[in-house]
Every structure is written in structure tokens, then in C-alpha cells.
Amino acid sequence: MTFSDLDQIGTSPEVTDEVTAMLRKTGISALQEAEQYVRKSGRTLPEKTDLSAEFARRLSGYITQGMVSLTIQRVSVSDEVRQSLKDSPSPYTLTLKKIAPFPLPEYAPYVNIAIKTGAAELFRSHAAFVVKSVIALQDTRITLQEKKIKEYKFGSLNAAMSIYMKKDAIKEQLHSFNRDLTIPGMMAGER
């Protein structure tokens, strides 16, 4: 799998729910400042523009993508997978029944907001986060061919995740959750 393949991974709807709940519960200063700027400018935005919803959608996408990338990396280097690599020209599938919960390295998704009129930038803000998570997998199916991993499918993926606001060296916890996640395009049984 290449990085561009990961770009095609959909955003987990459960992560979107949690991020939306997080934004309702906790104000993100970059987002609030942007909304305040629009209000004070007296100008209008394109119809149906919802800054919060777009922010949540984008952040959820980055969180999902980071989690999946690191999970795949972790699974790929496991003993079970390495021992299963063989020079087979035809694809074959390896099923990992149950992988004990493992922590992912921290990663930092970030979102930039720019308000422009024409080509002129009037306002810019930046929000950076840190995500810590512990992942538990069941029935992970990996398709290999010629010692290369071609496809990942998760049977079930459970994530215990904490999201922090990153301000210089300080991390302020915003939200935590522990639930089963679905990753569109990567679940076994999807058509």
C-alpha cells in the first residue's frame, strides 16, 4: 500500500461524532477567532458555509488517517506478518485473529483556517492537536503478493483515544473516548 492509497481511506463516522461532540463541549480558539472575524467584518460567506462542521470534518479525517497509518505500520512489522511473507506471485490472505491492545505513537493533526476575499488573505489561524490511542484489533485480514502487502481489512477495530490541544510544549486534554470504530473502505465485509 502506498501513501496515496491511504488518502482514499474514508473518515470514521465514530471519530467524526466524537470530534463534533468535542467541539461543542470545548471552544477551539482558532475556530472561534475565525468565526468572530467573519461576524465583525459584516461581510457574508458563501451559502451553507458552516465553519465548525468543516473544521470537524477535516480534523476527523486527519485523526482517522493518522490512526490507520500508524496501525498498519505497527501490524506490518509484527512477527506474524513478517514470517508470512513469501515470494508468491498470486495473492494470498493472512488473517490475524486477535491482536492484543497496543499503544500507537503520538501524532499531531493540525488545521489551518484562512479567510480571504479574492486573492487577498485577511485572516489566518492555526490549531494543532495531539492524539494518543490504544488500538485493539480482531480478525485483521492482510492480502499479500510477492512479499508486498496489497490490502488491509479490519474485522473490528477498537480505539481508546485521547485528543489534546497542543500549545507550544503544553498539551491540554480536550476529549477521550473508547469505542469500536468503522473505517470506510477498510472493513472486512464491506462491498
Binding site: S69, P109, Y110, V111, N112, I113, A114, V134
Partner: protein, 370 residues
Amino acid sequence: MSYYSAGGNRHRTDISSILVIAGVMILCFLGTIPVNAQVVKVSPEIKVTPATQVTSAMQVTPAIQVISAVQVTSVIVPEQTSPVANFTANVVSGPAPLTVQFTDTSLNNPDSWLWDFNGDGRIDDQTRNPRYTYQQPGVYTISLIVASRNGKDEVRKLSFITVEKQVLVPVADFSADPVRGTTPLTVRFTDLSSYSPTSYAWDFNGDTSTDSSEKDPIFTYTDPGVYSVALTVRNKDGSDTISKKGYILAENPETITDTVFATPYPVGTISSPQPTSLPLTSRVQTTIPPVTGTEETYPFPALLIGIFIVALLVAGGFILKRSGSSHGQSGEDLHIEMSGGIDYGDGLLTRVDERRHSPGENARKQEEDH
């Protein structure tokens, strides 16, 4: 197997001891026990001594004299710096809601923490020194899992936190309507107590006997007089009593009819079997009861309302003016651009995703990327 000692005594050897010794020697030979390992001995050592040659007719070849077996119960290997989980709490018991500050005291520098504050098996926090508030009474088991690249460890402290029920003693209070009138005077009493009393005891005439146990009773005073009223409320956590002296004034209708237009109501002319004989102006009570029919009008609220309306009008005009002028302004509308990415820290998978907000632009950008 048996052998003969120097004194000619026959000794039996213990087969199991020989097997243990052989096993230890084999393990040492195979190197499964590191050379710097420390073997924990729980019984005296084996002493190997050459046997003394017996001068009697029986030739005894040198043999191993086994005094007692070594029992290896554990092998301590050099420390691998795996984390050792442990924690403390600033408080372990108290009434709900109870806020507890947990402090990680794990050894060997873990870099991740998974806390379960209520023993349900679900992770509640992943910070090092979290704070948690228990809302419900109960006894809670706390688990902490710590991990580092050298391994992980878990500590579970059973029944570690005890949260007691919140004690809520009720606070008695009441109102009455009307508090003054001519006999027969029917008064409706309303309970205003807090913290959910479960029983009520009303005394409508200050004789310390309970006249009603209803929450919001109605009582009719048939005799003119000034009456004290008391209410005692109770719940499972305790009770409280409030007494309002001289609270109800039941007036003689004949007296009022004779003098209402001529003179002010005479003080001290109320007669009843149990009057408190308190002049109206010196009535002792803990609260000021509402007096019906005697409301006085004050100019102050009307002034406030007027100022508020003016402020609304001014603000409204200002807003209208601004929106009108903004429509009159020329220039392009605003549009939003959102971008972002993920910093993995090691730089291996960093990527920035630049996309415009409008759907049309998104589609064009995706086509360019592919």
C-alpha cells in the same frame, strides 16, 4: 543408591536431589541461565567432598556426599528496566461528589498510562496524573496499565476509593396566602423547603401540637387572633424546624366594619381565646410575609423598563444602519480556505493537504493530485 562414609556407616542418597543437581548442571551448560544470574537458594548448599578411603575390606570409590538438596525457587536476572506500575491518590474516601487527584508513582519511566477509575474495564484517562470526580456513592477499584518500549505492567487496587452518600438535611421554609384577613380566615400554606423532605408537621397556632401533615395544607382560622406558625420537615438525613411568630392575623369582622373608615385599625383590640396580643407593628417573625392587597407601586421598575426599551431601540437602529451600509459596500464576499495535515514526529509520513472549501475546487484539486 547408597555409599559408605568414613565411619563405615551406610548412607542412602536421595534420587530427587540428584535429579535436581543434574538439571541445574544441564541448564548451566546450555547457558539458559546467564552467568551473572543470581540463583536464589532456600536450603543449604551441596557440599561435594571426596570420600575418605575406607581401610576395611570394602573398597569405596570416591562419591559425592549429598547433605541436602538445593531447591531453586526463582532466578533473578539483571533488571531489564520494564516499567513497574503504581500510583497514589490524594483522598481515598469522602461524600459524593468526590474529586480525586491520582499521581503516577510507577518505576522505570513508562511513557504511556491507561487508567480505569471504576473497574469496568474501559479506559477512562490516558494522562500521567489525572483527576477524576466520582458522582455516585460506591466502592471503586482502580487499575493502571503503564507501558514503555521495554514492556508493560498493570497494578489493580481493589476497593481503593470509597464514595459516601451525600448527606442532605432538609431546610424548612414556607409561605402563606393570605396572612391577614377577617375570620373565618382560610389560609393556604405552601411548603418551600429544600432537599426533598419526606414528611411534614405543621403547627398553625403555636401550641406545639401537629395540626397537619400535608405538604401544602389549607387551614381556616375561626377565632380572631395573631397566630404563630411552625413547620418541621424530615428526610432520611435529618430534620429542620422553622417557626414564624405572629405570622397570621385573623381579624374580627365586626371590629373592622365599625372602624374601617373612621380610624386606623385599633391596636390591641383583638380578642381571642389565645391571642398573642402583639401589636401589628411589633410582630416578631423571622421573615417578612407577603401582604396581599397592599402592594405599593414604585416608579423605579417602570424607569428601568423605559431605559431598557430605549437601549433596545438604539441598538436596533445601530444594527440596521450597519447592515444597510454593509449591503451598500462594494467588494467581493469572503471565502474560507482550510488546510492541514498530520505531523508524525519522525517526519516519515508528514504530508500537507491543501484544499479549498468550495466543492468545485475540491474536485479539481483531487483530479490534479491523481
